[in-house]
Subunit: 361 residues, 2 copies
């Protein structure tokens, strides 16, 4: 479903021709958009992902409350259609400017703020069941990767093993990259660039035959999609290492299950087989990190309590770790491992966790 | 001065042996650190850079007010010495954890917060006249680059022209990369990744034989150092394109002159020959962007007024642009150019500015 033509076909059939038919039949033209409100977001325990339920809403042209949104939806559809036709890519912000204007003979603007055009684009993603990237709208970029992998991106053959200390900058759109060679047994995804750089320098990925990737904080869509593609297309296990705090654990959960605000794309951005490798609060005892913990803030505690209530954090192990955090009111960063020596993460912590299979699921 | 041995020599002579001599002479051991307070930061109109003046302070061991800072300075020095000896690199955060402990028989910690060890490291940078990266402490990473350039990073030969849509992820430390081939006439540095991706897709750097780099917002040290090295080692003119607002213009000024907080490293991070290519408030008239401007906030205006007072924004052109912003209370983003069409920046805006040499200096 990454093919350009298939996306163009959906745009044409579900939007253009659909509206045309309504008009020809003399009916009030409408577009049907699945609802993305919280009461239509469900955790599917079978697939292990956050997805949308079955509710949807109709957006009519001849309805004072709908007319503007209807028009905006057609404008965004036409814009995407143009991008696909000319094979151009751009950002959400650029799309906003490209579509912003004043309706003739009025004081009304097509779009006042970028969040209006962004919301309409997400509607379109859901309605057509495609990714924003397949409509050629690029998201934020963040994330770097190294490993024994050769990809084809456009005309370029890129060897992730030969990009020096920087690695490959994961672009916002990885829909069209082809994997030419993937010689790795698993993927290690670390939250922070500092950990990535240390592991890269210590040649961790060579010694352990893995792909090493950093999300550089909250994972951008490009990094999530890349993880998902590698894990499904090559059956590679994914292990995630973050700080031992609510923010880090939520990053793991976004990689694995998807996020609430993007539940409609979990299937293509989520990696339900991902496992959590660390850090945990238990690790603080086990690896003697007591001197290197940080006092958890009120907000950390509150967030941990929220996580405890999420269905997808209900396993015994996660409940224990979350409870430990709430009780002991501490957290720890990946960098805390350097308290035990700069190579402690590479030579002791990760190998021990991997050997003893101490993963959280 | 990028050689490891030279940095080790300075650490040894200016810190280790210096202290040892004081001790042997029976004197109160001290380290001399140039002051980094605002009253010791000067704008040097000859070199066109912010630099440190001649004031400095002595840090003594036997002085209740100095003893802890003195000890911290020696701890950080010893840590850096170890990094250089083992040829390891790490982050500021990791260094903090590696050095954090409680002094024996006391309740006093070596370092309470990371900003303490960071400040000591900057002291050391200044005292030894080296870069943090030369002491093997990596900074934040941000920034991507493409162009007809081949570099050697470690054992890897990397061709910036063949890295697909992502480009090369600029690492935090570019001290040791070697330029093997640089086939470009100039460098275009854009603030935003969205602009970088559009220009890259439109093959701007191939058509105009330039290196294309994005800082992705506030420039990280790696990106600044890379620009500086390319511009000095290959005499390449640097042109900077940012949003037309105080934040964007300050980014330009940091690339060109250095920043107040890092004035001691301007010489190695600043690119005084850099010129500003756009956006300006005048561009809004000239390129008919009126429909795509944003109302400037109180803070934007205040910041623009501050910039007007900086010595390095005193040129007639800059004063005019800053005044226009304050008077008209508007700003504009690079993405606003998309209001005139997605390829407007590539095909009209940049070529026109370059042809008419409409640069600000």
């Amino acid at each position: 479903m990454r093919r350009l033509k298939e996306v163009q076909k959906r745009l044409k059939e579900k939007i253009g021709e659909k509206i045309l038919k309504d008009v020809e039949k003399g009916e009030n033209p409408y577009i049907e958009i699945p609802l993305r409100t919280l009461n239509n977001v469900v955790y599917d325990s079978k697939t292990g992902m956050l997805t949308l339920g079955g509710k949807s809403a109709k957006r009519f042209l001849f309805n004072i409350a709908h007319a503007k949104k209807f028009t905006q939806t057609l404008m965004v559809s036409a814009f995407c259609n143009q991008l696909l036709k000319e094979n151009l890519h751009t950002s959400l912000r650029d799309m906003f400017y490209a579509l912003k204007r004043t309706f003739p003979n009025s004081n009304e603007n097509t779009f006042e703020e970028e969040n209006e055009s962004n919301a309409v684009l997400v509607d379109l993603e859901v309605a057509l069941d495609v990714l924003r990237e397949q409509l050629h709208l690029n998201a934020d970029v963040r994330g770097r990767v190294v490993g024994n992998v050769v990809i084809k991106d456009g005309r370029d053959l890129i060897n992730w093993a030969k990009l020096g200390s920087g690695g490959w900058a994961i672009p916002s759109n990885v829909e069209d990259i082809e994997f030419k060679k993937v010689d790795a047994d698993w993927i290690l995804c670390v939250e922070k660039n500092a950990a990535f750089e240390r592991l890269h320098e210590d040649k961790f990925w060579q010694k352990h035959n893995c792909i090493l990737l950093t999300t550089q904080g909250q994972p951008a869509r490009g990094a999530r999609r890349l993880l998902q593609r590698l894990s499904t297309e090559f059956k590679l296990p994914v292990y995630v290492a973050t700080d031992a705090d609510s923010f880090g654990w939520y990053i793991y959960s976004v990689i694995k299950y998807g996020s609430i605000s993007l539940a409609h794309v979990s299937e293509r951005l989520g990696t339900p087989t991902a496992k959590f490798l660390g850090l945990t609060i238990s690790d603080i005892d086990e690896f003697k990190l007591h001197n290197f913990t940080i006092k958890a803030t009120e907000q950390d505690i509150k967030r941990a309590e929220e996580l405890m209530n999420y269905e997808w954090f209900k396993s015994k192990d996660w409940q224990r770790e979350l409870r430990l955090m709430v009780e002991r009111k501490i957290k720890a960063e990946l960098e805390a491992l350097s308290g035990r020596g700069l190579k402690f993460m590479t030579e002791v912590y990760l190998p021990t966790k991997l050997k003893e299979k101490k993963f959280l699921d």
